[in-house]
Structures are given as C-alpha cells and as structure tokens.
C-alpha cells in the first residue's frame, strides 16, 4: 500500500499537466468547463492536435495510433485531462472507450486494421445502436432483425436514442439473427456504414433543446457479412463486455472534480449579504459534503486501478462506479445551479448572462440523463445485488 506516485509517474504527470496547460486554449476552456461539449470546428481542430501528440487513445497500443500508457499513466492522464478543461472527445466513450477494446478482443485482423486507426485519428465517427423502443433496460428484447442473404445480411427494424447518429459515419449495432432459443442467444454484433441505402435517421430533441440522439430506421439495409464481429448468435457476450467498458469509462473522476472546482470558482465571485457566497456557512457545509464524496470516489478509482494493475479484469464492480459517479455528478450540478441564485432559472441567455450561468443551467438539465444511459441506476443496483452480493433473484 502506498499513496504517492513513483518518481517516474510524477514526471509523467508534470509532463501531461504542462502540455495541457500550454495547449488548452481559453477559447476551449470557455466552452467546456462545466460539462458541455465544444462546437464542432474547435473539436475537430483539438482532435487533430491531440492526435499529433499521440494522446487520443491513452490506453490503446501505439501500433494503432494510441499512446500505449500503463494503467496508472492512463488514470493520471485522464484525471489531468479532465481537470485542464480539455474537451471530452466525441469519439472518447463510444469509439475509443468501447469499440476499440472490443475489436481488439473479438474482431478479425482485417476489422482491426480497417477500423481502429481511422477511429483514433478521428476520421471516422461511430454511433452505438443498442436501444430500441421495446428494448431499453431489457436490452435482450431487441427485435431489429438481420437475415443472411448470400454475402450480405439484410437488416430491418429500428434503433432509438442513438447518440450522434446524425454526425457519425458508422454504427455498431446489435441485431436479432435467431428467434428460436432464449432471447440472449440469437443476438449478433454488426458494423454498419450509416450511408448504406435504406437507412433513415431522425434526430430527437432532448430537454436541453439540443438533438443529442436519433431514431435510426432500417429498411432492407444490406450489410456485408465480413462486418459481423465475433460469431453469429454470440453477440450478447460481446455486448456485455462492451457495457463494462462503458461503465468504467463513463465517469472519469477528474470530470466530477473539475465540475466541483467550477462551482467553487463561481461561489467566490457571487456575493451574498455582502460577502462571497464561498464564505457562507450553509454553502460551505454543502461544499464539504460533496468535496469529501468526490475524494472518496477518487480513492475508489485508485483501489480499482490497483486491482487492474495486478491483472484482474473490471467486473460487476464497475456498476457502482457508474451508479455512484452519475449520482455524484448530479449532486455537483445541483449545487452548481443553486449557487447561481435567481440566475438558476435562466435558459439560453448566453449573451446576456455569460458562460457560467449558461453552463450551470445546461449542465444541470443534462445531468439528469446520466442515471439513465449506460444502464440506469436501478439496473446497476440490481447487478450489484444479484452479481456482487449474490442475493436470490426470485
């Protein structure tokens, strides 16, 4: 047991910190701090810059264009990255966090070579086609079907809530290839070019008044057989492994802590009864609770990291990282909007009131989705109860 980093790790941290300090521009920070995403043009520019530095995919091998960091380095990097105000890459969660490790584990050599480098360079953006109208939490209930016809699958059905489908070039998706046995047994994992004929994409407006996700309709869409990942009807296992990656990557602890730091900065500037709010005892007490909870969350990451370093895989424990991280982030955003006082009711008055107010209100609304996607909090708790605590299911 040891709490300090080694000399080398410290050096590494300083190097990362310095580079980010020099390269994350004020323009970027202005948009990102508080948890919202960057406008597209800036994002593309930033992705290029980070790619040139070799830091787009920290945990992926250098041979693919990744950084080849160790687990600890990866953690340090993620933490420093989030705290610096650098934007979360559009490819981060779906393409690099989920699909890349999955292709490395289950994909063919051809699939790896064809897709991974372009994903990391940012050339090709990906969407995740899991959910359907009748298959949300009950993912195995999905019914979008793929039928083999010569060298192609023919896909018919509908996906829903597909993030970035209107922006992405490709989508990985779960399809039903067999209806005879148990639901989980007839599912396959396909890679689909979103420009294929027969695909219709319709954006859905969220509570943020943005359109972060879409409905995607498939009408006799032909998908070449070689775009199947793993074996036919064995997609469920792949899907589950992927969800564990999603959960582990969903809440970089640095982002939660960075969000709390922004709350503190705002509380310094806002006056309440003649003093900065930061000096108000009621506010301080609330801040202390969140600060302590963030620290305990951070130490939990340290513990899991230690486990990963000794070679164990992430398991059902990732469920509590996801559930707790999402709820902690929501509580931070609750405080962030509370700090604003009457300004907390503002909506899209960016010119009038500036970024901190805008970020707090948008971030607060957006935070509600965190306990829904990537396995809702209720589902995570069921996983903890049944798989970690082994409580009886019936």
């Amino acid at each position: 047991m040891q709490i300090s980093y080694s000399k080398n790790e410290e050096k590494f941290r300083d190097k990362v910190r310095l580079w980010l300090k020099e390269n994350v521009s004020d323009e970027i920070k202005d948009q990102t701090l508080g948890g919202s995403s960057l406008d597209t043009e800036l994002m593309v520019k930033w992705h290029k810059k980070l790619y040139q530095k070799g830091w787009v995919a920290p945990e992926i091998d250098k041979k693919w264009g990744g950084s080849g960091f160790s687990q600890t380095e990866n953690f340090i990097f993620g933490y420093e990255y989030a705290r610096s105000g650098a934007p979360r890459l559009k490819t981060k969660l779906i393409a690099i966090g989920m699909l890349t490790p999955l292709l490395l584990q289950f994909g063919t050599k051809e699939q790896q070579e064809r897709f991974i480098p372009d994903m990391i360079s940012g050339e090709i953006q990906w969407a995740q086609g899991y959910s359907e109208p009748d298959a949300g939490s009950d993912l195995a209930n999905l019914s979008t079907e793929a039928v083999l016809d010569g060298d192609d699958f023919i896909v018919n059905g509908q996906k829903i809530w597909t993030s970035m489908a209107d922006y992405a070039h490709w989508m990985f998706m779960l399809v039903r290839t067999d209806t005879s046995g148990k639901k989980q047994q007839g599912i396959s994992f396909l890679l689909v070019d979103l420009k294929s004929p027969g695909i219709t994409i319709r954006p859905t407006e969220a509570l943020t008044d943005h359109e972060p996700f879409c409905e995607v309709f498939f009408d006799n869409v032909r998908v070449p057989k070689e775009n199947l990942v793993g074996k036919i009807n064995e997609g469920w296992n792949i899907a589950k492994v992927l969800l564990e990656h999603e959960r582990l990557n969903a809440f970089p602890v640095g982002e939660v802590i960075a969000a709390l730091e922004i709350v503190v900065k705002n509380a310094e500037k806002i006056n309440f009864r003649g003093k900065p709010l930061l000096e108000d005892p009621v506010f301080r007490r609330k801040l202390a609770v969140l600060d302590v909870d963030c620290k305990a969350f951070l130490y939990t990451f340290f513990r899991i990291l230690s486990k990963l370093q000794s070679g164990s895989a992430p398991g059902p424990e990732t469920s509590f990282l996801k559930a707790y991280g999402a709820e902690l982030y929501q509580r931070v955003m609750d405080l962030s909007i509370e700090v604003m006082g009457p300004y907390g009711q503002s909506w899209y008055n960016l010119k009038e009131y500036g970024n901190p107010v805008h970020q707090a209100t948008m971030g607060w609304v957006n935070a509600r989705s965190l306990t829904i996607w990537g396995g809702a909090s209720e589902i995570q708790r069921t996983i903890i109860a049944t798989q970690v605590l082994k409580l009886p299911r019936k």
Binding site: L207, D209, E338, P342, Q345, I372, A376
Partner: protein
Amino acid sequence: MDLEITREHLMLQDSARDFIKKEHSFDRLRELKKEPPLKYSRKVWKKMAKLDWLGLIYPEEYNGAQMDLSYAMALLEEFGRGMLPEPWISTVLLGGNLILSGGSKEQKKNFLPKIASGKLLMTLAYLEDGGRYDPNFCAAGAKKSGENFSISGKKIFVLDGSGADKIVVSARTSGAVDDREGITLFIIDKNADGLKIRPVKTMDGRNAASIDLNEVMVSEGDIIGEVDHGYNLMCDVIDQATAGLCAEMIGGMKATLNLTVRHLSDRIQFGKHLGSFQALQHKSADMLINQELAISAVYYAMASMVEKSDERVSAVSIAKAKCSHAYIENTKIAIQLFGAFGFTNEADIGFFFKRAKVAEILFGDCDYHYDRYLTLNRPLS
C-alpha cells in the same frame, strides 16, 4: 381546525379544468416556446377575464369577484396541473395585489378594473444582483427632484417582465442598501423614458426581464403606500404570491405523479409492467409522501393567510420550503422512471421538471425559506 377545501373551491377547479382542456395543451406550450419574447397569449388572457378570474380577489366595486386568497390558490392548483403559462401570478397576485393592499382609492380605481378586464398586465421588480432572494436588498435609488422622483438602478428576473404594461419597482429613498426602512414602491410605465426592459428566457419556457432604470421620472401619484415604508407592504404581497405559487406547485406535483403512474402502468420491460418492479413502486410511493406533506403545508399556509394569522409568514416559508424541495425531487424521480423518453421534449413530463426548477427559485429557494423560518421562530439572542 379545517384544512380541507370546500365545494365552492372544487367547483372553481372544475371550471378551470374545463377551460384548460378547451384552450390549452402541451403542444400549445411547444408552439409558444418558439415565439419570443412572450410565452403566453393575450387572447387566452381575455377569455380568463370573461370568467372573472383576473379580478378574482378584488372587491366588487372594482369589477372583482371579491373572493379570498384560498380561491386564488384553488385556481392556481389547476393552472399548475395543466401548465397554463398565462401571467396570473405576476399580474393578479403581485402587481394588482400591491395596489389592492396599499394603493390609494384613485390607484385602485385606475388599475384594478383594467386588470380585471384583461386590459392591463402588471408585475413587481424587486430582485437585484448581490441580494439573492432578499427583498430588503435594494440599491436602486429614487432621488427627490421637485415634485417628482428620479429612479436609477437595475432589477433582475422580473417575473413576466417583458410583457407587463406597468412595473412596480422597489427603490431606495433612504437608508443603507439592505435596510428594511427606506424602500418605496413606484409604478412605472413600460414606455417610460430611461427604462430599458431586456427580455430573458427562463428554463420553463416563459419570460422574465432584466430592467435598467436610468433617471426614470416618476410622480408622487405613482407611489404605492408611503415613502420609505414600502417594505412590509411588498413582503406581505410577495408572501401571498408565494402561497399562490405553492398551490400551483402542488397542482404540478399531482400531474407529475399521475403521468408517472400511467407510464409505469403502460410500459413493459422484462415481460412485466415497470410498475410491478418494487424499486419503482417505492420511488413512486416516495413521490406521494413528498407530495402529501407539501399539500398539508400549503393548506396550512392558505388558512393562515386567509385568517391573517400572526403565523402566516412562517407558514408561507414552511410551505415554500416543502414545495421547493418536493416538486423538483418528484420531477427528477419522474424523469428517471420515464427513462430516455423522459429526457426528451416530446414527453410532457419535462415541462413539469423545468417548471419545478423555476418555481423552486421564484420568491426564494429552500435555503432562503429555512433561514427566514429560523429567524422568525428561533431568533438568536
């Protein structure tokens, strides 16, 4: 002791429900959202006047229906349930009510019939930067100049401020920035020289305004009540509006729970209705508990308002603290139980979620009212 509402209240609520069914829908809200800056319609407002709702609490001699505040609250509960966005609280319970409670005969004659007939919209501007929710924090100053006063300063988040014809503004005529004495209430016309009204959007899709006053000239005839002594009058009226808002909030909570129960009864996952999962049953039960406690606090506040009991200020703070907490909490749970659909603008539940946030903040959030409650009931010696 009687904390139930009467048959007359229920009849008023029935007619409000019919009206809302006929004149209003969530799709109307989606349309109104696109129309800057007003997020309600003067046409619907006129129809409300025909039903005597705009003069509901004003005396008959000013064309009012002469009902007490409990009827206003009964009506507002329905507005909250149906999400009616018309500016009833700002015009009837703030602007007009200030005149009713503290205005001269002349002012009452001038303004109240016009409000009752739907011709005049009013509001109150009292919040300032640096004062958070405190009505005594007032840096905007009114300087005597001859027979008139010249007002300069800035007010923020003026409720429905970008559509109001007249704005009552609190301004300091003496004392330090947070003194209770020395505040005077002035009626200012929306077209007054030196007044700049900047519309701002609020999360619930309605409007507010920031207003800048730059040597706005007001005559003595446009003062409500006495010079330097506007504070108590203003607070009493804000408390009545707060109680009204609380009634709106319980209407919103009831609708939220209804929508949620319906969703849990309709949606099937894992081969079962969502409502059959115990985790979700318990969450909806929590919503009911939150709601019922809030209702009790609101009814108590209502009764103490109507009786003008000494407890009323404290009772309003209890009600608003409970509602501020319960409404937002319940809508958060509702969104969660709706899943991704709850996170879209296609679902009606989102309107309640965003209204709950604005309502939580209006007239002071939980902390403001906890603090006010303690200061009243357990003062430090």
